[in-house]
Symmetry: D2
Subunit: 155 residues, 4 copies
């Protein structure tokens, strides 16, 4: 099922600007690596400050970056003057997240006028002697809602 063409030709700049307004992304040192129609990649370093009790990345912190990747993948296909809210998401945790950094990939599965479904994958990346290996550690499905006409929820 092909995705619709973005309604907002300026979607990449709009999404990058919005990403940068998020205090939470600075808190976890996340960066937006790529943004394209229906697609977004976020990365963040794995450090002790985002750990749970066994030293792995806390599932909620991983979710923070993964929800962001899914949300912006969805936002690329929304109108220029819209806002976006997440209605719900579900995360399956497949392996403890350890390594050097996390790569979070969000993709739109179905873009509707009001409701957009995005899917996300989280990979833990470990680089040894210049060779990077990646491991799938979690998946997400997220339901995003296009918000129009609410100034407090825009961009």
């Amino acid at each position: 099922m092909p995705l619709p063409t973005p309604q907002d030709p300026n979607f990449a700049a709009r999404c990058r600007e919005s990403f940068n307004r998020q205090g939470a992304m600075q808190l976890i040192h996340a960066s937006m690596i790529e943004i394209a129609a229906g697609y977004c990649v976020v990365e963040m370093p794995i450090t002790p400050s985002v750990s749970q009790q066994h030293g792995f990345v806390h599932a909620g912190i991983l979710t923070t970056a993964l929800d962001t990747a899914c949300g912006f993948a969805s936002a690329t296909l929304m109108p220029a003057d819209s806002g976006i809210l997440t209605i719900e998401f579900k995360v399956n945790l497949l392996a403890p997240a350890a390594g050097d950094r996390l790569r979070l990939i969000g993709k739109v599965r179905k873009a509707g006028r009001t409701i957009t479904l995005a899917e996300g994958d989280a990979f833990a990346l470990t680089t040894v002697a210049g060779v990077t290996k990646e491991k799938l550690v979690a998946t997400m499905t997220a339901t995003n809602m296009t918000i129009l006409g609410r100034p407090a929820v825009k961009g």
Copy 2:
């Protein structure tokens, strides 16, 4: 359906110690407020450093604290020498999270030998002139797994 009696009489100290080992809890300034059999309350302040682009608490940060409340509610009923992993969770976001602080309440719904189901509620608390109002902003269902015999996943 009554919950089983904790197998570990020392569950409260064990859970508090484990909570304090989490870098992620310090990152978001979360505190364990209460721990009882099958029950855990976590609180965290709402500050710009945990915000998404509209100024509300990022859904993932809220999830970080809520998953912790659900996970420790489950952990209270697990054996002393076990570890806990979250298999999956699902979050429904009911209202933008704004106010002074978040209160996250996790409760065990069904404790099995291997699989425990916990449910969580997230409330945004706002105090004006000494009166605190709370608003339900999100709910979670979480599936936790009891891990035995894996030294890397203990406590």
Copy 3:
């Protein structure tokens, strides 16, 4: 959080009529036992025709009745001329479903203008010597959407 008063004073008759139009409810011999504001109870017999390979009720058939209970709980609070669609649901299966019949209870947790969150519990009931015991076998969270102005999705 109190639920809103139903906008449609005739909600019970509207929901019962809608329930009776469902071929799927006849297929699984389900009945609407109770309908009140934000609340619905459905029951169905447990027979070999709804079983999975081990003889328990198939999780999907249980979901059929539980989604119906959640959906009508939500529909009671929607306008008279609206339709309802389920956006998503999640089911946790806590015990194999066996016994004489299933009781499915749906309750609204939060009713919004567009989005309503309902929660459901499924109980397996077994009657021995006139005494009925019930066991929680599954839970659901369901996101329902109010549909207005689409004649194909009404009632």
Copy 4:
């Protein structure tokens, strides 16, 4: 991430026999169309007997067939003497399900010793003048558990 080789060389026959023991599959006239390592396709006709109140396929009936596809995809990779239980699933409903028949495709995403994650897609198929069009109407993520040593849950 490549899937493991099936431990049971006879997995296809085992899964087909197990499918045929399900009363629920007969009730909805579902057939197992394909079974391969980590993969299963189920089909069922769309008739008024599986409808909800607007005439579309009831989301729960669709879930019944989709859960079956996901479950058998997972079961192909489990030991010969194991049983399978679904711990939880989540379904996103993307479009009303209408047409001639449903095709449900289940694929394993990650197979673990105890926990297997499967993903499923549901397509509504409509054939006009010999040409069949398909439309994605729902997706599922399902967590399946390998059960060993419980005679009541085998096959």
